[in-house]
């Protein structure tokens, strides 16, 4: 259920690191908790993110949640497809439902994130 090649935050974001580029999204657990996602607000390319600071907002039919940056860096790209099909965050959160690509400013920060086992334990608590 929880992809083994990703890193996670306590706020239910995931991050995939390839070289100095990180891809960020929210987990299936988060998407399920929110319900039908209807809108995702993302920062413009070029914006600098601080680790664990909010970078955007995700809205479902009856809830809203802040998005927290798992890592610091510069936004390279937001997932433009989410503007018209936000539902892919529900259906494919680790694939087509990705949100941001970020150029890492400090790759060592990834070490501060949860590994898959730790994240699974977190969600198991309820």
């Amino acid at each position: 259920m929880i992809p083994s090649d990703l890193h996670y935050t306590k706020e239910h974001e995931w991050v995939r690191v390839e070289g100095d580029v990180a891809t960020v999204g929210i987990t299936q657990h988060a998407a399920d908790q929110l319900g039908d996602i209807v809108f995702v607000e993302l920062p413009e390319p070029g914006k600098r993110l601080e680790q664990f600071a909010t970078f955007g907002v995700v809205e479902s039919v009856k809830a809203v949640s802040d998005l927290f940056a798992p890592v610091a860096g510069e936004v390279l790209e937001g997932n433009a497809g989410l503007a018209t099909t936000p539902e892919v965050v529900n259906s494919d959160p680790y694939g087509a439902g990705w949100m941001l690509r970020v150029r890492l400013s400090d790759p060592a920060q990834v070490g501060q994130l949860l590994d898959p086992a730790a994240y699974e334990a977190l969600t198991a608590e309820g």
Binding site: V38, F39, E59, A63, V64
Partner: protein, 468 residues
């Protein structure tokens, strides 16, 4: 109980079920030191006496005078069908349609309201209603700052002063600022927004402007060069807010035609009685691209589980009950029943009828202008107007008072509406609608001529003597 069903026996049964002897026990949780002392209010009235007192109070208002009052609130013919619909308890005793399955009446009627106003404004997104024109204007100004991430707007002094004052209050809370754009003092464009001043204010690189707000028709009843104002605003990267009067939109170019990004306005003329200030209807509309910025409820069409067409409150996560301190506005209760009134009114008149209301008002206003000019009170400005205009009357405030004692509400002294503006000090703002009669116009002109000394004087009596 005045309106409740509980008999002493009912209360005893409930107390017995709770195992207590007195309802006082349910209030013992209130600390003794803060329990209320007895309230001192007049004793409760029977329905008979209540109605008598209300009739007496209502009778102390004078609504029988020949009235030329406008300035955003207009006396129109109200088709009785509007109030008959409003009196249906299924509409007026419902609340916010949180449960769409049993709220389709409210939801569809508000969707239709949004659609009607979208037709009139030419803008695709219309909120389900705001409190009134002043608060809708303030919310529109806030929208421009959010959308542009700028902290300053420009407001024409042709926007109603109460709307500007409301905007000032809202802006103080939001730590935003605004400047007023003056009106031209004389010449052929007198009374309209000073475009040169607007251009200068927009050109200040230290003070980027988020929005420019102008009214059509403006406070003085004059038509503004909206397209030009919009061009100037957009060239400076600002959004353009048009403050509109909805009946006029049947005959005037809609905000979309002059590239307004947002329209705000007072919806009272659409089937809502004046009732000394409210409840009215705040109209707020915007282009599709600003949909995320518009505060307040939105009703959308969708389908139910069986594929039937159905309606629901949508984009709810923008609102205060979900977004809390991050919501764009705190609005919750709105003016839904007034939006229903507006929808029934517009539908009852139809496109031709609404156009006739606007055009007949314009025709009556032209008759009024000619009659008052003939009586010695020419228009204060020369530019085009629809159904409202200012006249020049020496010692306007005193003449206004004397006319009141002859049973004529001779418009609004501009010295009271805009105390700071010397160019308006001799102005009376008057309007006509389809409800203004030829007799009222004749009476006003006759009395004014008399007051201005072109006829022998008639002694002034108490209000209304000798009138009507």
């Amino acid at each position: 109980m005045v309106y409740g069903p509980h008999t002493p026996d009912d209360r005893s049964r409930m107390l017995a079920a709770l195992g207590i002897g007195s309802v006082d026990e349910l209030f013992e949780v209130i600390p003794t030191s803060v329990r209320a002392r007895p309230m001192h209010l007049p004793p409760g009235l029977t329905e008979l006496d209540l109605m008598a007192r209300l009739r007496t109070l209502a009778g102390h208002n004078r609504v029988d005078l020949a009235s030329f009052l406008g300035a955003g609130v207009y006396r129109h013919h109200l088709p009785p069908v509007v109030d008959q619909i409003l009196l249906r308890g299924e509409y007026y005793t419902a609340y916010t349609p949180y449960q769409p399955e049993i709220s389709q009446g409210t939801l569809q009627t508000i969707y239709e309201y949004q659609s009607l106003l979208a037709e009139l404004t030419g803008l695709d997104v219309v909120s389900a209603s705001h409190y009134d024109g002043a608060t809708a204007t303030a919310e529109a100004a806030l929208m421009t700052c959010r959308a542009t991430r700028r902290e300053r707007v420009l407001v024409s002094r042709g926007v109603h002063p109460q709307s500007r004052q409301t905007l000032e209050t809202y802006f103080a809370g939001a730590n935003l600022t605004f400047d007023e754009v003056p009106l031209i003092a004389d010449g052929p464009a007198a009374g309209t927004t000073d475009l040169a001043a607007l251009g200068r204010l927009l050109a200040d690189p230290e003070r980027p402007i988020g929005g420019v707000i102008a009214a059509q028709p403006n406070l003085l009843g004059l038509l503004e060069p909206m397209a030009e104002i919009g061009r100037l605003a957009h060239a400076a990267g600002a959004l353009f807010v048009a403050v509109v009067e909805p009946v006029s939109l049947a005959v005037l170019a809609p905000p979309s035609a002059y590239e307004a990004d947002i329209a705000a306005g007072e919806g009272q003329p659409l089937g809502i009685p004046p009732q000394y200030g409210g409840p009215y209807l705040g109209i707020l509309a915007c282009r599709d691209s600003l949909i995320r910025q518009i505060p307040g409820r939105l009703i959308g069409m969708t389908s139910d589980a069986d594929g039937r067409r159905a309606y629901v409150m949508t984009m709810r996560a923008r609102e205060q009950d979900i977004r809390r301190e991050k919501a764009a506005s705190n609005i919750c209760t709105n003016q839904a029943l007034c939006a229903l009134a507006a929808a029934v009114y517009v539908a009852a008149l139809g496109p031709g009828g609404l156009r006739d209301v606007a055009a007949t008002g314009a025709a009556r206003a032209a008759e009024l202008a000619a009659a008052l000019d003939d009586a010695g009170a020419p228009r204060l400005h020369t530019g085009p107007y629809l159904n409202e205009f200012a006249i020049r009357v020496p010692d306007a405030v005193a003449v206004h008072r004397r006319l009141l004692h002859r049973g004529i509400l001779a418009g609004i002294p501009l010295a009271e509406l805009e105390p700071g503006d010397a160019s308006l000090a001799e102005g009376l703002l008057v309007c006509a609608t389809e409800s203004t009669t030829a007799e009222e116009i004749e009476l006003f002109a006759w009395a004014l001529r008399d007051e201005l000394g072109s006829r022998p004087g008639v002694p002034a009596g108490s209000i209304g003597e000798g009138s009507r």
